[in-house]
Point group: C2
Chain length 354, copies 2
């Protein structure tokens, strides 16, 4: 049976054309997926005419309104019914789709998802988790929260640790996840009061012996193999992912420069072109696009607002893998059963991307 992915086509910075083109790319690279696309049907059908290969793999659901990027979450909840975002999330609630992808307003998407899908048992504050390329053998570490909420107290940080560890088990197949708490240093007296308190909480409870707490980690440890899950508040996490994206783009520009510098380096570039392309893919933030909301009864993937078709494709593929391996329900079961493993599958964003 096909996996059905619900897509909010209207919220992104580049408009529905980019989203539909991303869906078309994902349809080509992921055969077993059907799409429910939400938005202005006239606009969407016009876009779809340019992507005939989508053919009967795609159903358009009309919605009148759009949640804008500048809308506050509270506004979106009060007035968002009738928007493509609301309808896209509602498809998951009704069981019409296994996961939803949106490039829209993060705060609004979280607020609408909370309202419609509800928090999983025992979760006070859901988090957005992203996969971070790492030296670990499974290839990725998990960083959370990367933007669900700008504030987190010690109890929230502790719960993020639980959510992240459950995700590492069910999503990456890590048997005994190691959790670290992001701080400005590893000495016990470093950091803000809530981080100090979270450190004590994580250390005392040790996640009931199912996950290990490695203590404070620094920014340079995020891709390290000291740890599988890195916990931080959504303000810091969001700034970290965007800063690293910006730096990776700068390094790509430097790399291009380097291979244009002399005749010899141009020649070297020609010989090494396949390797350079592979490298560019590995460090292309678009291909690791997609943060998953953890702690909800349903799979919601937030794509970058400025996602181009390649990035939209990556987010959809990621959502497809999460849906197929039941990661979200796995996380919920993992948390409620406190430790029973419910399914192990390897989830990598964009790993199949052409």
């Amino acid at each position: 049976m096909d996996t059905i992915i619900s897509v909010d086509a209207m919220g992104g910075d580049r408009g529905p054309e980019a989203v539909v083109e991303g869906v078309s790319r994902a349809a080509a690279s992921s055969p077993g997926i059907h799409f429910l696309i939400h938005g202005d049907s006239e606009v969407l059908n016009e876009c779809l005419r340019r992507h005939r290969r989508l053919g009967d793999r795609c159903t358009v659901r009309h919605s009148e309104a759009v949640v804008s990027m500048s809308e506050r979450p509270s506004q979106a909840v009060r007035h968002g019914k009738g928007s493509s975002m609301w309808a896209a999330v509602d498809s998951v609630k009704r069981g019409d789709a296994s996961a939803v992808v949106s490039c829209g307003n993060t705060g609004a998407l979280m607020a609408i998802s909370l309202l419609l899908l509800k928090k999983a048992p025992g979760i006070h504050r859901p988090a957005i988790a992203c996969l971070w390329p790492s030296y670990n053998e499974h290839g990725f570490n998990i960083l959370l929260d990367v933007g669900a909420d700008i504030k987190a107290d010690e109890e929230d940080l502790f719960k993020y640790g639980l959510l992240g560890a459950a995700y590492a088990k069910t999503g990456l197949g890590v048997a005994y996840p190691r959790v670290g708490l992001l701080n400005v240093g590893t000495e016990s007296f470093k950091g803000r009061s809530e981080i100090q308190a979270a450190d004590k909480l994580m250390d005392q409870r040790q996640f009931d012996g199912e996950y290990s707490y490695v203590g404070f980690v620094e920014g340079s440890d995020i891709p390290s193999n000291r740890v599988d899950v890195i916990v931080t508040d959504g303000f810091t996490g969001n700034i970290v992912i965007k800063s690293v994206e910006g730096a990776a783009s700068l390094i790509r520009a430097f790399l291009k420069d380097a291979f244009r510098h002399t005749m010899l380096s141009r020649l070297g570039g020609v010989f090494a072109i396949t390797s350079i392309r592979r490298l560019f893919k590995r460090i292309d933030p678009r291909r690791a696009n997609g943060g998953v909301f953890l702690g909800l009864n349903g799979t919601v993937v937030k794509s970058h607002g400025s996602a181009d078709p390649i990035a939209v494709e990556a987010a959809i593929e990621f959502a497809g893998k999460l849906a197929k391996s039941h990661v979200t329900s796995g996380v919920v079961t993992e948390l409620s059963s406190k430790g029973q493993r419910t399914g192990t599958a390897s989830i990598e964003p964009g790993a199949n991307t052409a």
Copy 2:
């Protein structure tokens, strides 16, 4: 006349050997510098025997104690007299040296510097600024605070903007610096309350018309040419620089992988070796080592705690350039005269590094 740089040789993670080797490298690459090296004279003289080229360019000043990495700033201030860090900073206070470099405990270095060198007029809280490779024509943007204090209220953030802009003028030669405030989004309602308040403050005062405030910027804007100075609190700034260092190291590892992948890519690597080496230098965090303390009456450069000799060399060169072009006093004059430019020189960390 030689520029004299005072060096705390004892505080780093790699011990005095690495620091002395870094001094020796800096001596070779920067002819006009003399060094005052502080620490255990027996150990230091032993190290110096292996670096004969340092010869008469170096004076050892004995100190008994060492400020450890785990010491709290308050302890360092109470009990630090007699330590190499204290003596190294004191050399600047007494006018024996133009700048001090330490790889030691950041908090202790700031506390001792505050006590001995005092804050510049009008500065409530000094900041640590670092130069960040960017798309701007001067090649660098300024990010601050990267770790002087984990908290910053709106008034602190506003002052960081002033300090950063004065540094951009005197250090990078930017006539009309553009200042941005780091946040999780550019919409006006985004971010924590102190960031909201700082946004209003910067917008209202517009830095008295001498610098321009561009509003909120995101992590991906740090290397952009939208802005010259990026303001954030020391917690976020410290985590951002370390996260980007970690990511850059991972990308270097990927790059090495890419050129080992096939026979053809190995061959390409041979042709492009000079370009690849140049690229590696450009993205090597060690070569941009050194954060400068802004808002003090004296030049203090904090090197990475785990600095190896290449990184120590970069920090010393950076301190030498700051000292030669009187950037610190330029920043102080710039702030007190509210806008009169007092000297323009191009400061790039490690730009002369071999």
